[in-house]
Assembly symmetry: C2
Homo-oligomer: 345 residues x 2
């Protein structure tokens, strides 16, 4: 590749420690194969970038300049304008189409080909940050039983969780309170439904603390378990443990998915485990590696991801257990340590 | 164009009333030139989309299916796979590159060529929603004088504003508290600086209420005006009024920018007005039309945008006055009505 082009987002933070807002005005870091990186950015963002000490030469454009032309000029200096350009995965397509039109001789490849190698294996400081975020979200889950009472709405519970997460995180990334039948939709957030006695409740919460993400799911029941839930949850606990036990350097990502799925399938719930087993985590809540069938990526020490099998019974309830784990030289460490059984509130 | 491809975000909400999370898993609405639209989405998002009544046929893909192949198959049915495809401006580049690789015969153009025509001229219900959002943020600004006292940090003031905005908005989009020298950076948000007597403070706040955005800036001073600020602010008020007065159907967008800039330049502050005069607003806080030099778009009834000139004095203070305005058949209406002079707190 001849240059890497990176817009606002996690990759930019990772590379030059600059938090740029995603705007219709182009901000783009150019990292040539050789030479110094340059950050093309709107003039009105330049003071903040300079103050934050972004690790790149700043090329500010005024409201009447064409930022794409600035990018083209800069790439031309190194000949990269007719080479292979890696574009950040999440750059808005409007910018990529404008660049493609202005650079008809270039070849375009996904920026993740560069970034994944950098971000996939966490350094010791990053792993410590993931453990600290894990401890912070463990502490929030410890307080969940006080929040779940029949008559409260999911949204009320979510507002309390939001405040609790904020106590030891910088940002709340999501709060899922899936009560009763709502728990059967894995990405249901929180609605107006009131908790009832006999509800199972899926609580999946996460935030960002010192730049690294937490993400943890536990199941609760209000008053007593609904019919059939106990046996199902026992299977899920066994499946999650089997998947965590399978994690080690040298094992493939899909083998972790298989370990969880086999337990659930053998118990007859296979059709109800409708998502992959996990996703990587770090400076973003979802990043590589994907713990999914078909991913033959070989795990290495320093990789971090969620292990979160779930079983979903439409119109009745859902269940999911999620911990973040880190691959070590010899096996695996969890970042979350709260009990994994369904807690009666 | 043979088809429009739209991922998660405002365009998707606008077209099919579906709020999809931006994920590494592809969600993509396919709108063929003729025939019914289809929404390709991850299986685990399908229950929410069905429940929300998204106005499109749902094509759910499971974790082991290739969603790009599903898109290609669908486009092939109408022959659009070798035609011109308009891609939503903000779709992540990773998806566009994958689609380009899978559809080498297609021609790619920005989705805004379609969407801008739909979103640029607001319908009466949309204009009513903008006025309602404007009234809600007016009410927050009315309470700002109670919040600004020497000794408080910007962040404390911002937290109060966040709570006040939330009272009559569904989402808080941004809270800028630029005190003293921090006001000189237009996109400074809120930091640890404590307000001091003699500070000028720029308060720029906005949220989303019933799907439409508010965005409003006023200036305040703590105790008394800093030296030189009174004369500067008088110029700014005149400039903002001149720009609003210039708004009418048949006038170009850049003419509004010129109207504000001329007043500021003639008063000798031209170098200190470092951004465009405004941006469109609607279901997004920043959308077309851009009120900027070089934009010869002719304004029409129903267009809505901010008019927000500013003057910035590095190391000392900033100032900005912002109202949302709507072009009417005969002229212009403001959505914000609070006084525009700097209010002494």
């Amino acid at each position: 590749m001849d240059a890497l082009l990176v817009g606002p987002g996690a990759d930019l933070r990772y590379l030059v420690d600059h938090e740029a807002p995603p705007l219709e005005r182009l901000t783009l870091l150019l990292v040539p194969r050789e030479g110094e990186p340059a950050l093309v950015l709107p003039q009105l963002e330049a003071p903040l970038a300079a103050e934050a000490g972004a690790h790149a030469e700043l090329l500010a454009w005024s409201e009447t300049q064409d930022p794409v032309a600035m990018v083209v000029d800069r790439l031309r200096e190194t000949g990269a304008h007719r080479g292979t350009l890696a574009v950040q995965d999440r750059l808005w397509t409007m910018f990529t189409l404008a660049l493609q039109e202005a650079l008809p001789e270039a070849r375009w490849v996904p920026g993740s080909r560069v970034m994944r190698e950098l971000r996939l294996r966490k350094e010791p400081g990053e792993i410590a940050a993931l453990h600290a975020a894990g401890a912070a979200i463990d502490h929030v889950h410890a307080q969940v039983p006080e929040l779940l009472r029949a008559g409260r709405t999911e949204r009320e519970v979510a507002a309390d969780l939001d405040a609790l997460i904020r106590e030891d995180h910088d940002v709340v990334n999501f709060v899922i309170v899936g009560s009763g039948p709502n728990g059967a939709s894995p990405h249901h957030e929180a609605g107006s439904r009131r908790l009832e006695k006999g509800d199972a409740v899926v609580i999946d919460i996460g935030g960002t603390r010192a730049g690294y993400c937490s993400d943890m799911t536990r199941d609760y029941v209000v008053g007593h378990e609904p019919y059939g839930y106990g046996a199902l949850h026992q299977v899920l606990e066994t499946a999650q443990q089997a998947a965590v036990d399978a994690v080690a350097p040298g094992v493939t990502a899909e083998a972790i998915d298989v370990a969880a799925r086999r337990v659930i399938e053998e118990a007859g719930y296979g059709d109800q485990f409708i998502h992959r087993t996990g996703h990587g985590i770090g400076i973003e809540e979802h990043e590589e590696p994907w713990i999914v069938a078909g991913n033959d990526l070989v795990l290495e020490a320093g990789m971090a991801f969620s292990v979160e099998p779930g079983i979903y019974v439409p119109d009745r309830y859902g269940s999911r257990i999620e911990d973040i784990v880190v691959v070590t030289e010899t096996g695996v460490e969890r970042c979350n340590h709260r009990p994994r059984h369904a807690i009666v509130c």
